[in-house]
């Protein structure tokens, strides 16, 4: 098992945002996370990627414990182990977060060179291959500000891939994009799914989620209220909240 989350809880002061969430991800799975705004999807991703400290529960990557609860307190692994775990996953943000002072090529190559200390020639070759893959070879020396939103998100995905992660998290990767730019990003994620990349994707793109996911999770008010195959959750939702949410999205 690649990822195992058990009883994850997150409090902001007295406000509990995530309540006892379980999630298991096998290698090669693509999981879509759906749910209304404010239901805790982003917080869930941020806890799993350890940008946010969990308030309860445990998490393991590839059998290594990232954190677990002991005597009612969450204890994180030691720095060395966490570093290893960090290198197992990547995260693609809604707002891209590319480094504005670096070119496209540098954005992709910098971390492999500085963090993973890879051979420069090899890293450069791989970066070029990634650029080719996202169809942006011509923009290798452009700065992020010179790109369209869709291009930026594709570069951000390439930057995450350059680290050769075991899995990728996406937090609404197309929400900041115009519809015509959304398509190019979704196409790219789809091609990653075809290559059996393990992914957890928070999205509002229902048709995309239906066709790309092996499993769909529906969240509301900090709970996972429904979980299963796309056919079960999206086409035949058992929960009234899920039905309501899907109906609303359709109307839009």
């Amino acid at each position: 098992m690649l990822l195992e989350v058990k009883g994850l809880r997150k409090d902001y002061g007295k406000n509990t945002v995530l309540r006892s969430i379980d999630l298991e991800v096998e290698k090669g799975e693509v999981i879509s996370v759906l749910g209304p705004s404010g239901s805790g999807k982003t917080t869930f991703l941020r806890c799993m990627t350890m940008l946010e400290d969990a308030s309860g529960g445990s998490m393991r990557f590839n059998g290594m414990t990232a954190f677990e609860e002991r005597d009612g307190k969450v204890v994180y692994a030691h720095k060395k182990e966490l570093q290893k775990i960090h290198s197992m996953y990547g995260l693609v943000f809604q707002s891209f977060n590319l480094f504005p002072h670096r070119t496209v090529m540098q954005n992709i190559m910098d971390a492999p060179l500085r963090v993973q200390k890879r051979d420069r020639a090899q890293a450069e070759e791989e970066a070029k291959a990634l650029l080719e893959k996202i169809g942006m070879t011509a923009r290798a020396n452009a700065y992020p500000d010179q790109l369209s939103g869709g291009q930026k998100q594709r570069v951000a995905i390439a930057r995450a891939l350059a680290m050769k992660p075991d899995m990728l998290f996406f937090d609404e990767p197309t929400s900041a994009l115009d519809p015509e730019l959304t398509a190019e990003v979704l196409k790219m994620i789809r091609s990653l799914a075809e290559e059996k990349m393990t992914m957890v994707i928070v999205t509002h793109e229902i048709p995309f989620a239906r066709s790309v996911s092996s499993r769909v999770i529906f969240m509301d008010k900090g709970y996972v209220i429904e979980q299963g195959s796309p056919a079960d959750v999206i086409d035949n939702p058992s929960n009234s909240r899920t039905r309501e949410f899907l109906k609303k999205l359709e109307e839009e």
Binding site: T49, L51, F93, F99, H101, R114, V115, Y143, M163
Partner: protein, 505 residues
Amino acid sequence: MLYKGDMMKMNKHLSGIVTALTMMLTAFGGTGVSAERTEFTVGFDAEFPPYGYRDDNGEYVGFDLSLAEEVANRRGWTLIKTPIDWDSKDMELETGAIDCIWNGFTIEGRENDYTWSVPYVDNSQVVVVKEDSGISSPSDLAGKVVAVQTDSSALAAFTGENATEENIALYESFASLTQIGDYNSAFLNLDSGAVDAVCLDVGVAKYEVEARDGFVILDVPVASEKYGIGFMKGNTELRDEVQETLFEMLDDGTFARIAEEWELSDNVCLSREETATEVSVSQTADKKKANIGEICLDLLPGIGSSLLIFVLTLLFSLPLGLLFALGNMSKIKPLHWIISLYISIMRGTPLMLQLLVVFFGPYFVFGIQTPAGYRFWAVIIGFVLNYSAYFAEIYRGGIQAVPKGQREAAKILGYSKFQTDLFIIFPQMIRVVLPSVTNEVITLVKDTSLAFAISYAEMFTLAKQTAASNTSVLPLFIAGGFYFIFNFVVALVMKQIEKKMALNK
């Protein structure tokens, strides 16, 4: 492009402006040469006891001021006491802002520069040292640092045109001769060991040595001289009036009584027999006036000093500011408290005061004698501490302006905190802060002149001294031009850097 004709026109305009300014000053001074004089404006250095100084009650008092008061009373004039910047005394007189300089004013060496009264005090230049200094005669001053007041008679005794061979040899034996703006800081310098001896008028020396502990006057004077009242050249009318009244006071004993009040009975020498040092107006032989070339040459070391302060300050404070910014944002609370206290003190008090504290603090707070070369390093330390604080605040703003997502992206990619700061945050911060840094750098160019507070001879201090010894405002204009050009170049360079940083947009 400016052609020669334009330049001359500009010169004419300039001199027109100066004339207009002079006339305005004269008008405001209310001291025009009117037949009915109602006011008598005396210029004096407010830090020259017992001749003229500010007493504990904040009143301007002194032997000279008492004499002037009596003269004014007898003549039915209202006395206006105008404390002046000693470096600017000639400008004050020339513009008519004051009627005379009456302030332990040495005649020797200045015979041709003013219309003089007869001498009324016989004074000599003496050397004051610390009691335990081991210096007992002027010859012991070889290899020592000696201080004199800017444009004082002590300075003239060593470097003036009428300096004796003996004094010139003595002067050449000094490690250095430092010019200090006022006697109070001269004695602070002496006390702290920044200078080994102060050379000054015996009257002032007696007063200071009595008022302070631990100083002695050497028996052998360096030079002897006389004090007179200096009027604007050619103004014999006012001179005669004042002098006549002084003689009346001499005759009826008032003069002697006032001298006794100020414990100067041994020093006074007013006598009807003495004739005033008469100088005809035509003999305006401006022998002291140097040409532009010579003045520039005089100012050259000052330019070097100012540039050095500028370069060293930036060299240290630009990186140091970053450390302070990080310390201020640190999660370690005590570190944050200390740094933020330091920053608010540096930003909340005058740089001039900070320079004084850095220079005199080691001695007066910790009793540590500072070596002669410390004056320069005190300037650098003071400037670096001050500018680091300003840069720290600018950097902090810049770091906080970098979006949170940048740190998060770096964290996900596995950068360490240090790598994140160095490769992701700082480069973005620099672009944000560059305009504010440019502003500070330009302020620094002008701030270098504050080094005068601890008598460090940078550009502006030197310009003031040169202006005083040449009785000309030209050095000040040249200094102004220097700062302007300096800033122009700095602004140009910073613009280039900003352009480079702006990426290819």
